[in-house]
């Protein structure tokens, strides 16, 4: 059928080779202080990673306590102060109604972060469930579910999201669900591959042989050991979801107008591109910085840290 996006472990022999990978859940390294110093050194050698973490902390703070960053109202403008270029009193300038753009970006973080988290959760839960069931049950269930996943993969993500938006309607949450469903397929594939890999491990066989029920094998042995790569995928998907959600809200399917969603801010600013560059450039910078940071952190989680150790 289609080329797989993610490496698939179809061959049992290959899956058995996965045994060689360390499965270290529940084994604390002996010296905790030494490990902590390791993290510090690891971060100090990567200023970019440190900066990414800082950006992400700021975005999270902004979405829970926007008042920490700005005291200006994101919705109320001073008409006489419209189209002011960025300055000390208005860091990101003001828009056509005299609203402070920086305050709108800060308050928009909440909407955009909420949508992104919903999208990632939907993809993680639905995709993970599909993958775990397919990998754990096997046989025809596996075949049916994975063929379905292949079909999802064959429809370009944006088209699938748009079809779901058509069916569900507009709004931040609906857009988030649409984006989440569109990335279910890759989660299902990774989760299935991991479950297949762990299922072959000796300790799973041992727990089966000693009479553990299927649910305890699944819950205590398979899931905890299969979770890692799926969680890395979730961090990667976080950046992609921010982009997808903002694209859909740019197209006008997100929260209705006065709400300062990031994509909406840019599409509003688009009308004044010729005379007020800051209305598009600066909110976009916020999106780009956030996505860049989450992608950098995902890359660190995906191997750099474990290779270092």
């Amino acid at each position: 059928m289609s080329q797989s996006l993610v490496d698939d472990v179809d061959d049992p022999a290959e899956a058995a080779l996965g045994l060689a990978r360390p499965v270290d859940a529940g084994q604390e390294p002996p010296s905790v202080p030494g490990r902590r110093a390791g993290i510090g050194r690891f971060l100090l050698r990567r200023p970019g990673l440190l900066l990414s973490g800082a950006v992400l902390v700021l975005v999270v703070l902004a979405s829970f306590w926007p008042d920490l960053f700005t005291s200006q109202d994101p919705l109320k403008g001073v008409p006489s102060e419209n189209f002011r270029a960025p300055s000390g009193s208005h860091w990101f300038g003001t828009d056509e109604l005299g609203r402070d753009v920086f305050s709108r970006v800060v308050h928009g973080a909440q909407l955009s972060l909420k949508a992104t988290i919903i999208a990632v959760l939907v993809a993680f839960v639905v995709g993970g469930l599909l993958g775990v069931v397919a990998g754990f049950v096997g046989r025809w269930v596996d075949d049916v579910l994975m063929r379905f996943v292949d079909v999802l993969l064959s429809i370009p993500a944006l088209f699938l999201s748009l079809a779901l938006v058509t069916a569900l309607g507009y709004g931040t949450v609906k857009v988030a669900v649409a984006v989440g469903i569109a990335s279910v397929a890759s989660f299902a594939r990774v989760a299935r591959a991991e479950v297949l890999r762990v299922r072959q491990a000796v300790f799973v066989e041992a727990s089966r042989a000693s009479g553990a029920r299927w649910y305890s094998v699944l819950g205590r042995h398979v899931l905890p050991n299969a979770a890692g790569p799926v969680i890395v995928l979730a961090t990667l998907d976080f950046g992609a979801s921010i982009l997808a959600v903002s694209a859909l809200s740019f197209l006008g399917y997100g929260a209705p107008p006065p709400a300062p969603e990031w994509g909406t801010l840019i599409s509003d600013g688009r009308n004044y591109l010729a005379n007020a560059w800051w209305l598009t450039a600066l909110p976009g910078l916020a999106i780009a910085a956030t996505v860049l940071s989450t992608n950098r952190i995902a890359r660190a989680l995906d191997g750099e840290w474990s290779r270092q150790r």
């Binding site: 064959s154 694209a247 740019f250 996505v291």
Partner: protein, 319 residues
């Protein structure tokens, strides 16, 4: 070889059927009555005449059981009839076909740019012995995949249209109007191509055959392009095959940014007025592009790497 192609074509048809079914389920089962949406499309008031609703229901067959509806629609879709666009009344197939050339031009140009820029970046970054240049070049692709396409498009318009007046900001006219949209669409794709190609080039340069070629006196540039690049291009080719569908879908955003006519604009408009037949047609078309490019990529593989044979009973595999 022929049996292989026939088998792949059969699989492709299977995927298309399933994509059609998924879009049918999504659009006709989920909340929101399509008929009310259709009748309301293009009208200002929310009130819709009940008689008109009933007539529409009958016309579209929504008064029949769901399975009968499905069979009916599928039968027509197989014959290339995806129904009529609700907003214009024109057949979906010709609506899409009219918009397609503009979009194919855009995505074709974007694909070319993505491969040239992304590939060029990867080749230069792995070839150069200047550490700073390599690090600079390799830091670009992660940036390229992290920026929102619509934002890049607007920035390009701001700089190259409004300030420098080099290219038109909007519209479909000619080659000059194609430059900025194609570049915008090419950036995320090109970045991915660069990432994959740079990684596989580095792997390839470590292989024994590269050592052999060097030992036999081949120049560095020749080893890089003739020996390493040819082998390293396979993973990049796979990625390109997977990304063509995303490029077509990306036209929705890019054509909106640059106010270009094309499939993307048609799709965006259809979603806005909940024009279900058009959206369904677009989804199936997206799947068709995906299936077709993957088939093409699999058939091109043996040309690049003669060790790959197209087996009659298995997928392209190493021997």
């Amino acid at each position: 070889m022929r049996r292989y192609v026939i088998k792949r074509l059969a699989q492709a048809v299977g995927v298309l059927w399933a994509a059609y079914t998924v879009s049918f389920l999504v659009l006709d089962f989920l909340p929101g009555d399509p008929v009310t949406a259709m009748a309301g499309a293009g009208m200002d008031s929310g009130d819709v005449d009940p008689a008109r609703l009933a007539a529409l229901r009958h016309e579209y067959g929504f008064d029949k059981p769901i399975l009968a509806q499905y069979a009916d629609y599928l039968g027509r879709a197989v014959r290339g009839d995806f129904g009529d666009a609700v907003s214009t009344g024109r057949p979906v197939t010709s609506t899409l076909a009219d918009a397609l050339p503009q979009t194919l031009q855009l995505t074709g140009a974007a694909l070319l740019l993505a491969v040239l820029l992304g590939g060029g970046l990867a080749v230069v970054a792995t070839y150069t012995s200047q550490r700073w240049l390599r690090q600079l070049l390799l830091s670009l692709p992660p940036l390229g995949v992290s920026v929102p396409t619509f934002w890049v498009g607007l920035l390009l318009v701001e700089v190259f249209s409004f300030r420098l007046h080099w290219f038109p900001a909007f519209g479909n006219d000619g080659l000059r109007g194609l430059v900025l949209p194609a570049l915008t669409l090419a950036i995320p794709t090109g970045a991915l191509v660069a990432q994959v190609l740079a990684k596989s080039l580095l792997t390839a340069l470590d292989q024994a055959y590269v050592e052999t070629a060097r030992a036999k006196g081949a120049g560095r540039w020749r080893v890089h392009l003739r020996h390493a690049l040819r082998n390293a291009s396979l993973p990049a080719l796979t990625v390109v095959g997977l990304l063509v569908g995303q490029l077509i879908a990306g036209s929705v955003v890019v054509e909106t940014v640059f106010s270009r006519d094309g499939l993307g604009r048609v799709t965006a408009a259809a979603v806005t007025v909940q024009d279900i037949p058009v959206v369904q047609g677009v989804v199936v078309f997206g799947a068709l592009i995906f299936v077709a490019t993957n088939l093409l990529v699999d058939l091109v593989y043996p040309l690049l790497d003669p060790r790959i044979v197209v087996a009659s009973d298995r997928r392209a595999s190493f021997v």
